[in-house]
Amino acid sequence: MASNSSGGSPDRQRIAQQRLRRIAGHLQRPVDGDSTIVAAECKAQGGKPDASSEGRTVPRRRQEIMKWNGWGYSDSRFLFNKKGQAEFTGKRYRLSGMIIPGLKDWMESTFGASLQHKIPATPILNSSAVQPPTLNDAFVDELKSTGIPFSHDAEDRVFRAHGHCLHEIFALREGKFGRVPDMVVWPSCHNDVVKIVELACKHNVCLIPYGGGTSVSSALECPPEETRSIVSLDTSQMNRILWIDEKNLTAHVEAGIVGQDLERLLNESGYCTGHEPDSMEFSSLGGWVATRASGMKKNIYGNIEDLVVHVKMVTPQGVIEKSCQCPRMSTGPDIHHFIMGSEGTLGVVTEVTVKIRPMPEYQKYGSVVFPNFEQGVACLREVAKQRCAPASIRLMDNEQFKFGHALKPQVSSIFTSFLDGLKKFYITKFKGFDPNRLCVATLLFEGDREKVLQHEKQVYNIAAKFGGLAAGEDNGQRGYMLTFVIAYLRDLGMDYYVIGESFETSVPWDRMFLEELGISLVKSHTAVTQTYDVGACVYFYFAFNYKGLSDPIHVYDEIVITSDGRKKEILANGGSLSHHHGVGKLRKKWMSQTVSNVGMGMLKSVKDYVDPNNIFGNRNLL
């Protein structure tokens, strides 16, 4: 038994190293813009160029590398340069440093935005506008003696007072701060968290766990009615892979690690988790567990609930964990399901054992063009029915397809632009697709080469039955790249009076269309991002130009969030409150409708037992 594992290992190692080198090559910005796509390219492009194996992405002072009032890295942003051309700055992404000629037109035509009307964000955080911290002195004194680092610096506190909902970012850009945490602590291991939670209980301090800060459910907002000292528990320094078990294919990881670090470090050993939510550059493992996250490759690897083997969570009642790391148990309701989706109301997830898989030998992107959205959905449904969905399959509607095109970087060679033109000609003129109706599905296949090719053929055959035409790897890949930069794009829009937001829901197959969901928005994109046997996850993106409106947030609220009608409509029409973003405080008023009153009672009684004094007082969910 022992010899088996070692016998194969040098060979496997060699392959892994080879792959690693290849990936490393792609993580760097390609030298000539349009190099051919290589199979093993990994979607996680965010790796820091200077990242050594021990290097981690997230420093304690996040504001050193990330924007305090917008999405992502400080060095990466869209802007219009002096020539009036859109450009993406920085060096981190494939799109970085490139000119995007189509973006300006798209913004002008779609939103009526104008480069003349700019409304820049407050550039510097004004510390004096931040409430002075309410400190619990006894707690602070005892915390000092533990040696765990903490801070009540205004920047640190503001950074952890928000997620990335539109209204949150909008307020920051205006320089407005509501209730912010009174201090931030950075535990570096499980035991630190145990100490902090003990102290918080002893001194009745409110704790709000903070992972990657990518929440879009107002989950990180401090409840304004909270009078106790609020301590933000930032898990970012708990970011080690504690061990990898190659026999059982599991890895035991500290929960503060962010997705890109987790994948990168696992890749070094030839493994991956395959869990790739769109926020994976910044969102953390603990956050995934706490919100029931979903990754785009769930068809192969599963969602977070399928990946988690073992969780350790520190609660006011003590540490909760299972006594074993078994594949399945019949021991009453799974306690993991109290933890997953608890959204920081019960405790802090500190360590997680996740399933790992050997890195795929071969990856291939693909895309299919359909004459219209309905045909596309029908195709996805058939693929789901035949259970032959590739690692990821996503369907973009016509608006989003156009948006994707608008983000095409300037092509350096005439030949490519000629080819593009030829393709367009073939599809619209020769095949008769209406450019204002066609939509595109993006595909990602993974596995060993032969199977991938075979799989690809099967999917394309199904697509052909629904009038789908293969549209090349490039389009497919750009579709996935979009998910990383779309969040940056919102900041650009906000500079020019365009505000946008996305939300998601999951619906059964027979209720896939906007009308069926009771939504009729002026300008919205729809995308189907995940497919299941019984239904799919649907994303809505919408944005509008608010120049001339007095209180845009209010307008926005009226349209989407607080207009109970919309959400109610979705619920009434068989959609879910959320597929993977979670409930937070934004959607909690619909919880009892979703899970029934008895269900709410069950959840409440768990909360009452685990945290009777509401130490974890972020007031999410319930």
Binding site: A2, S6, S53, W243, D245, K247, H252, S323, C324, Q325
Partner: protein, 716 residues
């Protein structure tokens, strides 16, 4: 239980059922097995045939023995080693192949190469040697049967006591004789330095480990995986010494936990169902290294293990070393020890091949188990009459120290006291081997004659020699485990300001705590020990205990006096180290072992602390103390030449007073060396005084300066 015996290839059991060495036991006390003399058969039959006989031991679940080369590759290919190699290569930036090579070199250096031919060679020569050296080697054959049973059922760990180099050869010799699986033995690297002999030991089942490898992850991994692989697969019983080294004082040493941790691991991680641990007590009537130890305790370096030294030591062959008793104790199941103590679930959460420092509860469990096992060894140690005599002689010697008194003790008086002590010790549960069929005076006489190197009968009186005191003390120490708890209580009563039970208990508790580096006192068992001591003393009519008070009875005074006197040298030793050196009454205070323990205790109790690896006294008068020492040394230095002469000749007949003076100085030097963090071995390689002036004084001065500059802040 022993139904399967009939099928055993062993024929020894039937043969000596009526042994003259059978020990009669007080029915009140623990049942212990009878002994058989296994040398008797050797004296009556051919050694050569014995060495060449058919050897077919029964193995664990019928595993086939594993070649040492196969074993090595199993170890090197284990997940554990792979993991650590990768870890080390990551940390140091070395190539994995490089680290892998180092691992395999470590293993090469460590691994045994058990070969039956070598074992047969040893069987032959040892038969010859044992027959010359010893009158008998007595073994409890029921213990052998239990061991045979245990070997078939579970992996076995043998834990012999360690008093002599002889121990592990003897163990293997016995197991070979009784047709049991030959053990692999953890031996110190020192032996490997011996030409030929080292390799021969290796071929007879020894594997060699470095004495210290503190931070070396790779070494630890290879070593622990090697032991665990043997254990998991049950290839051979694993044998090691819990005490870590030979006890120079015959007192059991506090157990070392490293190897015990390793052998418990496969059970704790659920890789084997259970592991049987068999404590083995080996008692020597006279220890081969007797004088060597005493000198070592006084600071003469341990001669380096070498083949030539071994050859030179052949003169011991001409002497009579009495008999050896080997008692194979009841196999202890680790599973049952861990029952209710350890939650093994915690090991489910980490892959087994990933090394992890044991948690506190595991550490405590292993520690407690280790003490229990050492106590099990102690309990089955056979005490010879001489042990009691030595105790009495030592006490008498101190009482007679007043000037003008004649040293020694009348033979009749000694006999009479010995009989008293014999009965007392039996009541306390001692495993005393006192031939009841001979008259007490004969017993005393023959004991004394066996140890004529230590005591001399001159016109009916005994004269003790100074250097020899420590050897005697070692023999006395063999009985300490019987008396230690009552003795602590007796001293506690003596020291307590009143008879109040609580106060006596406090005093007991203090003494017990102070001496926990010195004697085997299970951690956290103060109350049990107190109760046990009370029970024994009440049983023998020495004490009356009621809920409030502890009172010594009229006829109990003799026992109390004996018991307090037993502890007296240790008490003084601890006091001397703490206060000053002028009141040296007990030569035992010079024992480096005592000093080492004292220092450990002082460190533990916070009386001294370590400064950058040195030890400094947490006492405001330290500088004064240093000054006093310097004066003393200057005084004695004038006679330096003469004394060094004494030392190198180790002329025993020289005047005791002078010797004492000399050893006092040696002792001071040693304490300083401990203080200054220099190993003792270095000191003896040079003349003590030169060394002191060259190395220690500067350090002391340096430290004094340090202390001065640090000012008041450092002293409490």
């Amino acid at each position: 239980m022993f139904n399967s015996n009939s099928s055993m290839p062993n024929t020894h059991f039937a043969r000596f059922k009526t042994s003259k060495y059978a020990v009669k036991l007080d029915p009140m006390l623990k049942k212990r097995d009878d002994f058989e003399d296994m040398l008797e058969e050797r004296r009556n039959s051919s050694d050569l045939r014995y060495a060449l006989r058919c050897y077919t031991p029964v193995l664990y679940r019928g595993v086939t023995p594993c070649k040492s080369s196969v074993l090595k590759s199993m170890v090197l290919q284990s997940d554990h080693i792979h993991y650590v190699i990768n870890q080390v290569s990551k940390e140091t930036g070395r190539a994995t192949d490089d680290v892998q090579e180092e691992a395999s070199a470590i293993l090469e250096e460590m691994a045994h190469r058990l070969q039956l031919s070598t074992v047969r060679f040893f069987a032959f020569t040892l038969s010859k040697i044992f027959k010359t050296l010893f009158r008998s080697i007595c073994v409890n054959e029921e213990g052998i049967q239990r061991l045979q049973q245990a070997i078939q059922e579970h992996p076995v760990v043998l834990l012999p006591s360690h008093r002599s180099y002889m121990d592990f050869l003897l163990m293997s010799y016995l197991l070979y004789t009784y047709d049991l699986a030959l053990p692999v033995i953890a031996a110190g690297m020192d032996f490997m330095g011996m030409k030929i002999v080292g390799e021969m030991l290796r071929m007879s089942g020894a594997f060699f480990i470095r004495r210290s490898f503190g931070g070396d992850k790779l070494y630890w991994a290879v070593f622990s995986e090697y032991v665990k692989t043997m254990l998991r697969n049950g290839f051979a019983p694993v044998e090691f010494f819990l005490e870590g080294t030979r006890s120079r004082t015959c007192k059991s040493l506090t157990p070392k936990l490293g190897l015990l941790n390793i052998v418990m691991d496969p059970f704790l991680k659920g890789e084997v169902f259970d592991i049987s641990v068999v404590p083995v007590s080996i008692s020597y009537e006279r220890i081969l290294e007797e004088t060597l130890y005493a000198r070592e305790l006084l600071g003469v370096p341990k001669p380096k293990e070498s083949t030539s030294a071994l050859f030179k030591a052949r003169k011991v062959l001409s002497e009579d070393y009495g008999s050896i008793h080997v008692y194979f104790g009841q196999p202890v199941s680790i599973r049952s020890m861990a029952e209710g103590r350890v939650n093994r679930c915690q090991f489910n959460l980490i892959p087994r091949h990933i090394p992890k420092r044991p948690d506190e509860d595991i550490h405590n469990f292993v520690n407690d188990s280790a003490y229990r096992l050492v106590r099990a060894q102690e309990e089955n140690m056979v005490l010879k009459p001489w042990v009691l005599l030595a105790s009495l002689l030592l006490q008498k010697h101190h009482q007679n120290q007043a000037p003008g008194q004649k040293r020694g003790i009348a033979l009749e008086e000694l006999t009479q006291q010995a009989v008293w002590l014999r009965d007392l010790s039996r009541q306390y549960g001692a495993f005393l081997h006192w031939p009841d069929h001979t008259s007490p005076s004969d017993v005393v006489y023959s004991s004394l004659s066996l140890h004529r190197g230590l005591v001399r009968i001159s016109e009916g009186r005994l004269l003790n020699q100074a250097v020899i005191m420590l050897s005697c003390a070692s023999y006395r120490n063999q009985a300490l485990h019987v008396f230690i708890r009552p003795a602590l209580l007796a001293s506690a009563i003596h020291a307590a300001s009143s008879n109040k039970k609580q106060e006596v208990f406090n005093s007991f508790s203090f003494l017990r705590n102070t001496f926990s580096n010195e004697f085997i006192l299970c951690p956290g068992a103060t109350v049990q020990d107190f109760e046990e001591a009370c029970y024994l003393l009440v049983k023998t009519g020495v004490l009356q205990v009621n809920p409030q008070e502890v009172v010594v009875t009229e006829r109990g005074h003799r026992t109390v006096a004996f018991l307090t006197a037993l502890l007296e040298p240790f008490l003084q030793g601890y006091q001397v180290s703490q206060t000053n050196m002028t009141l040296l009454r007990y030569i035992e205070v010079l024992s480096s072992d005592l000093q080492k323990n004292t220092l450990a205790a002082l460190l533990r109790l916070g009386a001294v602390r370590k400064i950058n690896g040195y030890v400094a006294f947490n006492h405001p008068c330290v500088p004064v103390w240093f000054e006093w020492l310097e004066q003393q040394l200057n005084k004695t230095c004038k006679n330096k030449q003469a004394k060094v002469q004494h030392f190198s000749d180790s002329d025993i007949s020289a005047s005791m007073r002078k010797q004492l003076e000399f050893h006092t100085v040696m002792c001071i030097v040693r304490i300083f060396s401990l203080v200054a963090g220099i190993s003792i071995r270095q000191i003896q390689s040079q003349t003590a005084y030169d060394f002191f002036h060259l190395f220690i004084l500067p350090k002391i001065k340096l430290k004094r300066n340090e202390q001065d500059t640090r000012g008041e802040g450092t002293s409490p």
